[in-house]
Symmetry: C2
Subunit: 402 residues, 2 copies
């Protein structure tokens, strides 16, 4: 007998047919003698519809506490409907809201962090042989007010329960059937991986593979929860995410691209001590996420600093640097949207210094210019012309995984 | 400063415009320096829509516990939207679910009874000068499961809070502007009453005036909560419901009609001791609500018993009597749907024996035949042909209140 935690997103429970599809997956595992806990999100577009209702009433600042009160009704509807479907299939079942399932959070409404899970109720329902359906995304703070964990919070809910109950596995059902070495819709030869490490998954998530919510992978790593990413529509094995996986010949795990990048260049900075610190400190104050950084020595005691930010933060980045004008001297600021970031990810690459060279060579051969480079222990990223994104991913994928 | 409890039904918060209408009524009273608690139902058809969703998934027996889980999401949406609207109008506000507002109930899902209200949270929010919005119709049982009070439960929620907090008044907002001496859409000369007693209101509610939920009037009477029935659309005084009202010249308060009546006659019953007991005991077992009863002595040691039941219970009433066939002897059972009940209600009538005579005379003058009669201390009801319902109400109203 295993204890399995499953998680289904909103599209998986969007209508009656899909609800029964999910119900059958759950019932199958239950009938094999497993204990099954399932975390679900709000149905389809429910959360967006509720936000829209609130925005009609107040398009200004809405109290986050009231917003959480509103949005948590979404999962309340989906958990009860799923329980009703499982009941119809003849299995004992109970639905629990976040607070009933023991999700205690801090009071940061809209982006609450889980402090602990009181598992008493869930354990008692499992002991009664009930299938347990839990509302994802939500919890309760110390004042008995409802909180939400932020978008993608249902993944986090599932991993947190799996960790608290030492579940044998946490299965995240999605509309893809696993994690691929590259986007299979765009890259010829992209392969589904049977296993991947937490760190690799984190890099892939950050870089836009978007199969799993980052926070949930971090939590899974911290508590050694074995994850499986699999399809809610096809009955086949997905991709396992765990700490140690068997070494394979593959040096790299995947190739990803990210077009949500703008390069900002500060030209002709006076080359004085602390200039870079002041610049990036100011950007941090404005909560700008700086990614790649390139610094070049100019002439006449000046230098240029270029860095990348998500596109929707470019404006605020430029304004925050402008606000420094009285303190730091520079000639001009330029920005460029026509760039994208190509990354290779793989825990195997740290011991293989040839990875970077191989990546650069494949791009050179394809006549693609590299404008910036960053590396981490398990990732190499390069900035290129946006127009060459798809071609770049394909040639790099061919070089390592083709 | 007064403590006022207000209650608005689902149609009063059905859309953005109506939500703001309600928000302004609340804010007006709050700005006069009052403490205001408002109970609301789910928006418009939300409850029916949720039931429909569940029925699509399972048209058989649905666990009442899961149904309550589903339905309570309805008020969760309406309380938060109303709070967001009040916020927009610039007043401090907090929404509370039934359990957050301290509604502890028994475990009869779907028809739960309030056991007590823990008023700590509401008091603390009032102390912080917050307008408090409470989800009607819902509570929590001792297992921390959500419960509902049954249809019309929001009225009960409002009266229960008013009782628990010794509110100065409990205002029930409806789509009519008060309680009338007869249905003003049908009876010429129908007048709005400024005051009415609990008992009179109970009789009028039972008899189909349907302005207030019966259970809530009973609770208001028990805890001496002063009720006011008033319009959510027009800003004018409504009808006060309280224990003692000033004696007025009017002997009777109102005239009502009820078409939800079927007469069932058991013909040729053997006239043996205990026959009537066995008959009505069996009907009680089948939960049939028997109203008027007429017993007539027949010939040859037999008698006939006629009684009225709500129309949707006629079939089960007949079947339950048929099941007695081996025990009690009778010739036949007949039923008749073409009847209606006309009632006059008024606490003043007990000391005025002429009321019945005056009622009967007015019907006689209008050539309307009386088929059965029942009386209570504050009510006289007669059964007549259904086709003469409207005429009967008018002539009786003219006789007493015209």
């Amino acid at each position: 007998m295993s204890l399995i935690v499953k998680k289904f997103g909103g599209s998986s429970v969007a209508n009656k047919e899909r609800i029964f599809n999910v119900a059958r997956i759950i019932v199958d595992d239950y009938k094999k003698g497993n204990e099954v806990i399932t975390v679900v999100s709000a149905q389809g577009d429910t959360t967006d519809d509720l936000i829209e209702k609130a925005r009609e009433i107040n398009d200004g600042n809405i109290s986050k506490r009231e917003m959480d009160m509103l949005l948590t009704a979404g999962e309340q509807i989906s958990v009860s409907l799923l329980a009703i479907a499982i009941e119809k299939l003849g299995c004992p079942v109970i639905s629990l809201l976040g607070w009933q399932a023991g999700f205690n959070t801090d009071s940061n409404h809209g982006i609450a962090r889980i402090k602990n899970i009181n598992t008493e109720r869930i354990r008692s329902e499992l002991a009664k042989k009930n299938i347990v359906i839990v509302a994802g995304f939500q919890g309760i703070n110390k004042y008995d007010d409802l909180t939400t964990l932020g978008r993608g919070g249902s993944d986090t809910s599932a991993v947190a329960i799996a960790a608290a109950l030492h579940a044998n596995r946490c299965q995240i059902y999605t509309d893809v059937d696993g994690v691929y070495t590259a986007d299979p819709r765009k890259v010829k030869g992209a392969k589904k991986m049977s296993e991947i490490t937490y760190d690799e998954m984190l890099e892939l998530a950050t870089l836009g593979a978007q199969v799993l919510n980052n926070r949930s992978v971090e939590m899974a790593k911290k508590y050694s929860v074995e994850l499986e990413v699999l399809s809610s529509l096809e009955n086949k094995e997905g991709t396992i995410v765990r700490e140690n996986i068997e070494m394979e010949k593959m040096l790299i795990r995947g190739v990803t691209s990210d077009k949500n990048v703008t390069t900002i260049s500060v030209i002709g900075l006076k080359d004085l001590p602390g200039i870079a610190f002041k610049l990036f400190n100011k950007l941090a104050q404005f909560k700008v996420n700086v990614d790649m950084i390139l610094q070049s020595i100019g002439r006449d005691g000046t230098k240029d600093i270029s860095f990348t930010v998500p596109r929707d933060q470019a404006q605020i980045a430029i304004e925050s640097i402008n606000s420094l004008k009285p303190i730091i001297k520079y000639e001009s600021i330029t920005s460029d949207d026509s760039v994208s970031k190509i990354s290779v990810v793989g825990a195997g690459m740290e011991s293989h210094p040839g990875v970077a060279a191989k990546m650069f060579e494949s791009l050179y051969d394809a006549d693609i210019n590299i404008r910036m480079i960053t590396t981490s222990e398990i990732r190499i990223s390069v900035l290129i012309d946006e127009s060459k994104t798809d071609k770049a991913v394909q040639v790099v994928h061919d070089a390592f995984l083709g």
